[in-house]
Every structure is written in C-alpha cells, then in structure tokens.
C-alpha cells in the first residue's frame, strides 16, 4: 500500500515480529527462558506489590474530614460499586425501553392511527458513559488541533520568513495553562454558538476548544523542525532532478518530516489528555473530570475511594492512548535510527 511514496508495512510485519519472537523463545534453552520470564513478570510485579503495600500502610495513617484516605482495598470496593451501578442503570434503561415499546405496540394494536411518542431514557450517566464522553472529547480536540498544526508547521518550516513572523506568537501562547483559556473560550462559545437546536453541548465545545488551544503546540513545533531538517543531500538530489515546488514538498519534504511529526503528535496527545480532565472539571463536560469534581463536592465517605479509582482509570487510559500512538508511529516511521519506545 502506498501513500505519498511511503510503502506502509502491511500487518504481516506485526505477525512476523510475533512469529520471530516465538521462534527465538523456542530456541532458548529452558534455564534462559525461565530467567527471561521471571525477570519480565516478577520484577514489575514486585514493584507493583511494594507500591500497594506502602500505599495501604500510608493510607491507614491519614485521617481526612471525609474519612480515612482510601487504600487499595477501599479503591477495589469502590471500583466494583461503580461497575455494579453501571450495570443497574443499563438494566433500568433496557426495562424502560421495553415498557415503552410494549405500551406503544398496544396503542397501535388498538388504533393503528394513534400517535405514539418515543422518549429517550434520561437516567444519570454512569462512570463508563463518562469515560466514553472524555474519550470522544479528547479525540475531537486532538484531531482538530492536528488538522491545524500540521499544515501550519509545514508552512513555517518551508518559509523562514513565515517562521520568523509566527514564532513569537507560538512562544507566547505555548505556555498558557488551560485553566486560563477556559473563561475566554466559554464566553466566546456562548456568544457565537446560538441556536435553538444545538447539536453539540456547550460544555463539550468549551472542553474541546480548550484542549485544542493547549495541545496543538508540540505538533506544530515538531512538524516545523522536521520540515526544516530535511537532509541537504536529498535537497541536492531534488535540485539535480529539477523537481517543481509541489513535487519537492510531496515526495521529499513530507516523507522526511514524518518521524518528527509523529513525535509531536504523541506529545500532543499526552498533553491533550491531561488538559481535558482539568477542562472538564471547570466546564462541567460530563466526563471523568466532572466525575471527580462531583465526587469531591459530594463529600460522602465513599468519595475519596471513588476519586482514587477515577485517578487510576485516567492514568490507565492515558497509557493506552500513548501506546496506540506509539504503535501507529512504529508502523509509519521509516527512520530506523530513532528508537521508539
């Protein structure tokens, strides 16, 4: 498969890698194999267990106004509570739709021309609904930011005049915290987004735009650096072949810049996820940030445990997002000298 001259390695390469690692495992002698397995699983496991022990010991000594600081056992209980709540709400929702369907069927059976109303279930969002909301908010913000940052990065990389014009703005806006952007974004959105039947909730737009404003800088800067750093030799080849500007950019500059571009994208995604949680807390977008905020405001004896559970889930999702980005980077990047981990 070819895109812009880069031959994408097919999925076979992943299978090849798994196959070759299985092969090398089979060729190891049993003692070596045992030591690899033990090192690979026992050592990280020991680290995790040690952390859990320290956590439990430390937590049992901290008394807060909301009860004891949650240890691992408490967090586990709260997590299973959250799962149960989610399942209960889903069951209720299913039952509601079933009753509605039956009711409407009976109505239609009695009088085929009767008006039937279909209402949506308006139950509270569960923890897992909130995870989903956070995910699609962050992905929308990240993708829109990339759509802006990548072409801009290419433009300022190609023209040093444009770079000198845009660079001061980048340096000034890059360090601004999302919490500083949020009031401005909220005001602008409520002024401009006036419609009787809004498709997007205002809280979604506020969070999404804040994420966009904060996470586009790494991609922008890294793309520009990648474009500027095209090897002089390749530029000479392009001159000898007398490539026109558009072909030069498409066939030499862009493929050269892709490894740096993906480094930028990976950094941007990590920042986007962090910014999202903060933005959601203040913008009240029904995601994980709102969950933490609500629990904190709620102040029940379970709150700290549930917040801790949310913290772990946030960390785990951030890890998964980073890993997916890394896999994508490995798939697309041709630069063997870059170590990708």
């Amino acid at each position: 498969m070819e895109i812009n001259g880069i031959t994408m390695k097919s999925a076979n390469s992943i299978f090849d890698r798994i196959a070759s690692s299985i092969k090398s495992v089979r060729e190891m002698d049993p003692k070596q194999l045992a030591s690899v397995i033990i090192k690979g699983t026992l050592v990280p496991l020991t680290g995790i267990v040690a952390f859990l022990v320290i956590w439990q010991l430390g937590a049992s000594r901290i008394d807060t106004s909301l009860g004891k600081f949650p240890g691992p056992a408490e967090v586990w209980t709260q997590t299973s509570n959250l799962v149960d709540e989610h399942n209960n709400v889903r069951a209720k929702e299913a039952a509601f739709y079933e009753r509605q369907r039956k009711r409407n069927e009976e109505k239609l059976a009695g009088d085929p021309n009767a008006e039937v109303t279909w209402r949506d279930y308006t139950g509270k969002e569960t923890f897992f609904d909130q995870i989903w909301t956070s995910l699609y908010t962050v992905m929308t913000g990240f993708l829109l930011a990339s759509l802006i940052a990548i072409p801009t990065g290419i433009m300022i990389g190609l023209s040093s005049t444009l770079y000198m014009a845009v660079n001061p703005l980048i340096q000034i806006f890059k360090p601004v915290s999302p919490l500083a952007w949020l009031p401005l974004v909220t005001m602008v959105v409520s002024a401009l987004y006036v419609s009787d039947e809004p498709i997007f909730a205002k809280s979604f737009l506020n969070s999404m735009f804040t994420v966009l404003l904060c996470c586009m800088w790494p991609t922008l800067i890294n793309t520009a650096v990648g474009v500027v750093g095209v090897s002089k030799d390749l530029n000479n080849v392009s001159k000898v072949l007398r490539l026109n500007w558009w072909t030069h950019v498409r066939k030499i500059v862009l493929p050269s810049a892709i490894p740096m571009m993906f480094t930028g994208l990976r950094l941007s995604l990590a920042i986007a996820w962090m910014v999202l949680i903060a933005a959601e807390m203040l913008a009240q977008n029904p995601g994980l940030g709102k969950f933490v905020w609500d629990e904190f405001q709620n102040g029940s004896s379970n709150s700290l445990g549930r917040i801790m559970a949310a913290v772990l889930v946030i960390g785990f999702i951030g890890f998964l997002l980073d890993r997916s980005m890394l896999m994508l980077q490995r798939f697309v990047s041709w630069d063997k000298s870059m170590v990708l981990r």
Binding site: G5, D233, N236, L241, R242, P255, W334, K336
Partner: protein, 291 residues
C-alpha cells in the same frame, strides 16, 4: 577546431566568510572531450568537490564559467547527473523506487510505463542490483547503496556523469568490484565521466586523464596527466606494468613531493622571517646598550 564537449574557463569562486571573501578556487581552465574519463585528485580541502559542484550547477562561479555543448551551465539538471559521496537515497523508498523517481522526472511523457520499468531494471542490472531492487536502503550494505546511487544517475541518461568520491566509504574489495563495473559501464555507454578521488591507484586505473589540483586556498589545476594505457584495463595485469607504475609515480610525486615542498616552503619562509626579526631586535638592543 572542434567545440569541446565541456569547457571550464577561468573559473574562480569566493565564499563569504566573517573575515572577508574566501577564495576557494582560482582560475580553473579545463577542456573535456566527449567520452573521456577524467579523475580529479588532490589533497583534502583543495576544492575538488567545489569544482564538481560548479560543473553540476549547485554552486555558481564568481568569475569565469562552464560551457557544456555550447550552452552555459548555471543551474543543476539531470543532464549532469551527480553521484554523491553519501549515496543520498530516500530512506523511505526501495532501491527500485529511488531509481523510478529519477526516471519519472526525466522521462515523463517520453516513455511509456512499460518502457520505464524496463529501463529501470536495465540500469539496476548494469550495477548488478537486480536481486535486491525491492529492498530499502536500511536493508542493504554501503556498497549496494552506492551502486543504486550510480544506477539512479545513469538512469537519467546524463551527458556527463559527475561522481564525488563515490567509493570513499567502501572497503577495498567492494571498491575493486565497483571500479570494474564502472569501467564496463563506461565502455558500454561511452559517456563522459568526471570523478573525484583520493586513491591514486583508482585514478590511474580508471581515467584517460588525471587532473591534479594544488593545495587550497585559491587552489588551481597544478598538472594534467594523460594516461595512455590500452582499454580494457586489468588491474592484476597492470600491477607489473612499467607505464602504470610510471603514471603512479608521477601522481604521487606531484601530491607528496611538489605539494609538500610548497607547504614546507611556506613554513620555512615563516621560520626565516621570525629569525630575522629576532636578529633585528638583538641588534637594536646592542645599539641601545652602546649608546
């Protein structure tokens, strides 16, 4: 008189530097005929690559000019194909695709797709790379990468083939193989070649004429040696040939005796100057003491 194929007249080039313009080359004059194989040899930093880059059009001469087939050269183009010292292959394309890029640029509209494919494969087989043509640069050795670079340059059907120390980064065995391949290609295609090299043996073995440059800065052509050995040339047979050794002697003597003498002269001049100054100081002080 026949118009020479390539002519350099009074070529000089200055590079801007903080201390003022740096004259890298001074008054280079050279005439090259169609089908000649020219080697340019000289000490490090004498401006050999600069000469090649001026002929390629990548640099502009400050004085004088280069004329190819009656037309002035002032910008790069595929009729003066360059083989770079660092192969300069696109790392994201396979060997075949690298050559294809050049062929598509030069022969767009002039060859059909099937003809292009045939032409690319022909050039890759000239350098014995048919078996590895779908591999990427990071999957092949340095010698193979250089061969693909040569194939790419040849695929442009250049009027002049310019090579900047193409075999410098390779081991002796690979170098020997590639030199033989280059000689075969030169015999078969009859193209004009200008090659920069450090290796005296390579220069004598491959070329019709050896251009020996003086030391920089403001380097110029010191001497041009005509190598009149019969082609095809066999390196093993030539190892005992008296004329081959004589040519080698000439080049070595130019590089290591004349050029080093030039260096020594400048060093000796500086030493004499210093000694004169010391003597003057001593006389002055004696004079003051006496007074």
């Amino acid at each position: 008189m026949a118009i020479p194929h390539l002519e350099l007249t009074g070529v000089s080039i200055d590079f801007p530097s903080p201390q003022g313009p740096f004259r890298a080359l001074q008054n280079i004059n050279l005439k090259i005929d169609q089908g000649e194989f020219i080697s340019v040899i000289g000490h490090s930093g004498c401006g050999k690559s600069t000469v090649l880059n001026i002929v390629a059009g990548l640099y502009q001469a400050t004085k004088g000019g280069v004329i190819l087939d009656g037309k002035e050269v002032n910008e790069p183009g595929p009729e003066r194909a360059v083989v770079f010292q660092n192969h300069s292959l696109m790392p994201w394309l396979s060997a075949y695709q690298n050559v294809e890029l050049a062929v598509k640029c030069v022969f767009k509209g002039k060859k059909t797709k099937a003809e292009m494919k045939q032409w690319i494969e022909h050039n890759l087989s000239l350098v014995h790379m048919e078996h590895a043509m779908h591999k990427r640069p990071d999957e092949i050795s340095g010698g193979m990468k250089q061969r693909v670079g040569i194939a790419r340059a040849l695929a442009m059907e250049p009027t002049i083939l310019l090579m900047d120390e193409p075999f410098g980064a390779l081991d002796a065995l690979t170098r020997a193989h590639l030199q033989d391949s280059l000689m075969d290609i030169h015999t078969e295609l009859g193209n004009t070649v200008i090659m920069i090299t450090h290796d005296v043996d390579e220069a004598v073995l491959l070329s019709d004429r050896i251009v020996m440059m003086t030391n920089g800065p403001a380097a110029t052509i010191g001497d041009v040696l005509s190598v009149e050995l019969q082609r095809p040339r066999n390196r093993v047979a030539l190892a005992d040939d008296a004329r081959y050794n004589h040519y080698r002697h000439e080049v070595l003597s130019f590089l290591y005796e004349k050029m080093n003498k030039q260096k020594k002269d400048t060093v000796n001049n500086k030493k004499d100057e210093r000694e004169n100054l010391v003597r003057l100081e001593k006389r002055k002080r004696k004079g003051e003491k006496a007074a």
